[in-house]
Symmetry: C2
Subunit: 216 residues, 2 copies
């Protein structure tokens, strides 16, 4: 009973932090805000977390685990609606932790341990997986890229995924749910020139259906 | 004589601020640092600028003017070395004000007037120019894009130009001069799929020559 209540508080702190960080930006939220939001005592929070950085690290681990599990679990689709669903799912995971992407440079700059953790994750876990997928798609003739195209594409791809939410927030003044589907279209649009002619047409069809409901 | 010395101090403050912001990041540099760096009194700085925000606004104006003059003055090249030189020139202007691009979200978030100024500039001055150029290149058959391609391309283009220095700094731990040429290659790589077959080959040739000296 006591243990379950403790776990409960730990979990509530994490979830409230994610919510507040997403809504207000991590750098405007202190542990005092989190405590006030939950109606618990500061001592209660400090029982579980020494400081805000520990909360942020735990949130990063959850985000990284969730994303990795999805990418490991499903080979990517690159055609039509299946492609859109696949990329959308990735943006959907990122959306739930979107403060990470609108605050990342600031977050990493002030926390060397987090920065190292994030570099290890990107370089050793996510990047090799994505690279393998791309190589397989090229080998199977689904996408057509020269080695030069591939090198250039990778940077543009990572940059787009990493900064989409920040870019969209700046361009529109605020982040709305439709940012996920618009970001997905941008990623597929980056890939489109390398598809077969037939799949290019499918991309345009998907695009035209989507833009009925989405202001691009 | 007195006036010339005054102008001199004003100019020195601006140039020292750009230097310190670029080297250390705007948010770590106070007016005290600027004053100490120049060996002048705080009162001397406050004679010209009420606060750091005024210095930043003046620097923004200079950056915006310089970039606009270049883009107004020269029609863009999209083929081979001429294209590289054109895009490189833009990154070179941005490089001299690179703190803007590694700190932009933070800078704009805390200064509504600057944010408005920057939006007006982008929406009313730079974007229409770039759009006109792209439209002309499509009309002249230099690049081949459907209206859908063009919409998607524009966002990916702006995002890349806007975040390249921040991305590169995060990926490599620090910003070096070669970031300018690598950023230029990324922009041209984004455009490459829409070129004529012959111009695509020229891009690859330019790329291969460049990568002899540049670690991509």
């Amino acid at each position: 009973m006591a243990k379950s209540s403790k776990e409960n508080t730990y979990e509530k702190i994490i979830l409230a932090s994610i919510e507040l960080f997403n809504e207000q930006g991590e750098r405007y939220v202190t542990t005092n805000h989190i405590v006030a939001h939950l109606g618990i005592s500061p001592g209660n929070l400090y029982y579980y977390f020494q400081n805000k950085e520990e909360i942020i690290e735990e949130i990063f681990k959850r985000y990284e685990k969730e994303l990795l599990e999805f990418i490991q679990g499903e080979a990517p689709e690159v055609e039509g609606y299946a492609a859109l669903r696949y990329v959308f799912k990735i943006f959907d995971i990122m959306w739930r932790y979107r403060f990470i992407f609108t605050d990342l440079s600031v977050l990493l700059e002030k926390n060397e341990r987090l920065s190292q953790m994030q570099r290890d994750y990107t370089n050793n876990k996510i990047t090799p997986l994505i690279n393998n997928y791309l190589d397989a798609l090229i080998e199977n003739g689904v996408i057509h890229m020269t080695p030069i195209d591939l090198k250039v594409f990778k940077n543009n791809f990572w940059l787009l995924v990493r900064y989409w939410f920040d870019y969209d927030k700046m361009a529109r003044g605020e982040l709305k749910q439709d940012s996920k589907v618009r970001g997905s279209i941008q990623v597929l649009g980056l890939l489109k020139p390398y598809l077969n002619e037939e799949d290019k047409l499918i991309f345009d069809e998907v695009y035209l259906r989507l833009v009925q409901g989405v202001d691009l």
